[in-house]
Subunit: 138 residues, 2 copies
Amino acid sequence: MEFPWKKLRKRSIDGIDDLSLAIVQDSETNEILMVAFTNEEALNRTLNTGEMHYYSTTKRRIWRKGESSGNVQKVDEIYIDCDGDAVLFRVRQRGGACHNGYKSCFYRKFDMNKGDFIIVGRRVFNPERIYKNKNKKL
Amino acid sequence: MEFPWKKLRKRSIDGIDDLSLAIVQDSETNEILMVAFTNEEALNRTLNTGEMHYYSTTKRRIWRKGESSGNVQKVDEIYIDCDGDAVLFRVRQRGGACHNGYKSCFYRKFDMNKGDFIIVGRRVFNPERIYKNKNKKL
């Protein structure tokens, strides 16, 4: 199956063309887990495997979520927004989404009194342990 | 109050520098309402008014959500993600977020059988009526 890529509005991100935004929400808790970028190939791989794939603007390649950590994301539902530059994926997250060990990458909240961000998320795995041994399961 | 802009990772979007991603979630229903872009000025205006402001890559200016429609967004909570390129706003949405009249901009869902998107969102206002008369309240 092919993703209807023509329906998307492509963005240039840091000079890399033909990307769209991928917003990832936990389908059980409705938490926002992460935001990343995707492209036609990543979308097709996601559709055909049922697991989230992204395009990494840092590594400049397709990236399967969980390829190092085992923390894969199984896709339940896919939505697009009105102008077509963002795709919303509702997923079941294994372990945590964040490479820092948190369930969600949005683990820091703005504190109006301090005028700064404070950590409010909960750590669900030890990133040092997970990323040192790529074959180790959670 | 100033937003700690230095903590963010700035992205270049379609050649416009110094932007970050703004992800907007309904703080009552946890629905994703919209995704747009923000910058230092939009963030400071958002903090100091309590209402969402964005940077429009189309209009190339700061944009107060609801300035035409009256469908303002009151900010409850602000989070940043691990790499600091995305800000999550949890808001109370007046009317609908989408200029097409839907509660959420993500009103189209991918149908695995059809291989295409179908409209699943509910329309909460008539965009023709709202955007024709800018002073008219919902």
